[in-house]
Structures are given as structure tokens and as C-alpha cells.
């Protein structure tokens, strides 16, 4: 359901996950317009939503690496790792990919 909602407001699953965790840069004008429509917010709810969004935008912006640490997201068991040597090599490359800013 969340991924359907993400698609409806123009975000990919990764972008939506960041937005949900507090990375407010994903909530641009498109999202500010479509979220109230998709959720069917009333006039007063829309007003409250816009006020909360304005508050969030004025706060210190968060990025992915403010929310998670490399240690926390270190792979413990990998799917499709091609043997143990590949697992070692892959671990750092995976973490680099996980922490690469979404474009």
C-alpha cells in the first residue's frame, strides 16, 4: 500500500522511504499538491498539512546518513553473494551504494 501511495505522489520506493523517515527535500511542489488529493483531505486538514509541511521545510534538513549509520546497516546475511570472498568485497560496495545520495 505504501508503495502504491508513493507512486501516486511521484516518488520511488527509495525516495518515499527517505521522505517517511524525515528527508523533507522529497516533498516538493508535486507532492504538496498530490498528497492532499490522494488522501482526500478536507479543507481544514489541507491547511494543517500545509502548515506542518512548512514547519518541516524550515527545520534543519535531514539526509539519509543523519538517520542511519553504516554499522547499523551492515549486511549480516546476504542474498546472492557469490561465495565468501565475494561477500567481503561486496559488503563495503553495498554500504557505499546504500549511503549514496539518491538523485
Amino acid at each position: 500500500m505504501l508503495r502504491v501511495f508513493a507512486g501516486q505522489i511521484g516518488l520511488s520506493p527509495a525516495e518515499y522511504a527517505e521522505a517517511e523517515a524525515g528527508v523533507v527535500r522529497w516533498l516538493g511542489e508535486e507532492q504538496a499538491a498530490t498528497i492532499p488529493q490522494v488522501l482526500g483531505l478536507s479543507a481544514s486538514e489541507r491547511k494543517q498539512f500545509q502548515a506542518l509541511l512548512a514547519d518541516a521545510r524550515s527545520a534543519t534538513p535531514l539526509e539519509f546518513d543523519d538517520l542511519f549509520t553504516r554499522e547499523q546497516l551492515e549486511p549480516v546475511r546476504l542474498r546472492h553473494a557469490e561465495g565468501k570472498r565475494a561477500a567481503v568485497r561486496a559488503k563495503n560496495e553495498i554500504l557505499d551504494a546504500v549511503f549514496a545520495p539518491l538523485r
Partner: protein, 200 residues
């Protein structure tokens, strides 16, 4: 003492799957198991990211509340569901890895012997398969469809393919995953599996 993973028997895998499914009886989508709902009930979060797929489709993180997945897996939901089921299976099969602040000595993926690595992955796949395709109901659906097609005089291989496609749709898994499960439950022979999946 170095970490040792004790490989599970088929019976242990089936019992474990049955226990998990009994614990979450409402997490169903028709006959399919709502694996994302079960993850949610277990207090786990999915974290979709980009660029992981060259190495993995998903993985269980050091923080056991988080399964990191490549966002591209959601383009084919049956495969995504299997990936999620496999990752939660790792957590269930090796829950002791996440008990302390650090991994036990020798427990990291690259520290396991090839044999240990093989069993860790094999058991996680088997448990994922048993979770998504519960034995009794899967066999019932599979046999009913196969009998129906055979009664309609469908050619044997075609009937098998259609049966697996049907089971895949019912349980929201790929036909390949359904074929492997059917073989595990002895609903098809090894020769039939090889005809269906020549690369297996």
C-alpha cells in the same frame, strides 16, 4: 568457540514455517501469505535503496529491525516477496546472531566455511519457500489443478506448466518457486522438474 550453524532437517523447516504461520493467522491475502504484514508484526522495517542489486537483492542488516532491499525488486512482486521471506528466515533461523551487540566469532558471512554458507543459504531459501507455500494447502491446490487439466486431456508438460502458473498466482510466487516447492513436497518428479527448469 567459533560459531557453528546447525543445518536444519526438512521436518524442522516445515515445523518452523507452520509455527510462524500459526502465530500470524490474519496475515493472509486470500491463500497467499502476507509476508510484508508478518514483517510489520515482527517490528521490522523495509528500507528500499538503489544500486544494491549488482551484489544482492536484499539483505538483513546488523540492526535486526531492518531489511535493506534494492528498490528494483518491487518491479516483480513474486520475487520481491521471496526475497523478503528469505531475509526474515535468516533472522528466525539464526536469531542468536542478533542477541548481543556484536556478531559471535566466526559468524560473519565471510568467516563461514563454504559448507556452512551453503547450509545457511539453503535453509533460508527452504524456510522462505515453506512460509510462502504452506505444505498442505499448496499440495491441495496443485493436485486439484493438475487433475483438472489432465482430465481435459492437456499435454503432460503443458498441464504441469499451467498448474505451476496457477499455483504461482494463488500463492503470489514465481512459477519457478512453485516448481521447486512442488518437487520438495514430492508432487513432481526430479525428471519433471528438470524438464520444466533445465538449468536447475
Amino acid at each position: 568457540m567459533s560459531y557453528h550453524y546447525q543445518a536444519k532437517t526438512d521436518a524442522e523447516i516445515e515445523q518452523t514455517a507452520a509455527a510462524i504461520l500459526a502465530r500470524f493467522p490474519k496475515r493472509r491475502l486470500g491463500l497467499a501469505v502476507d509476508i510484508e504484514g508478518i514483517l510489520e508484526d515482527l517490528g521490522m522495517d523495509l528500507l528500499p535503496r538503489r544500486g544494491i542489486r549488482p551484489h544482492a537483492e536484499g539483505y538483513l542488516a546488523r540492526d535486526p529491525r531492518i531489511i535493506v532491499v534494492d528498490e528494483k525488486i518491487f518491479t516483480y512482486p513474486p520475487r520481491a516477496r521471496f526475497t523478503l521471506a528469505e531475509e526474515v528466515s535468516h533472522l528466525i533461523l539464526e536469531y542468536e546472531l542478533w542477541k548481543g551487540g556484536r556478531l559471535p566469532v566466526g559468524a560473519d558471512s565471510h568467516e563461514l566455511s563454504e559448507q556452512q554458507h551453503f547450509f545457511v543459504e539453503k535453509d533460508a531459501k527452504s524456510l522462505a519457500s515453506a512460509l510462502l507455500m504452506p505444505a498442505a494447502i499448496f499440495a491441495e491446490i496443485f493436485n486439484a489443478k493438475r487433475r483438472e487439466l489432465e482430465a481435459a486431456a492437456a499435454p503432460e508438460l503443458h498441464a504441469l506448466r499451467e498448474t505451476l502458473k496457477h499455483a504461482g498466482e494463488i500463492f503470489q510466487v514465481s512459477p519457478k518457486a512453485a516448481a521447486v516447492r512442488a518437487r520438495k513436497l514430492k508432487l513432481i518428479t526430479l525428471a519433471e522438474l528438470k524438464r520444466l527448469l533445465p538449468d536447475s
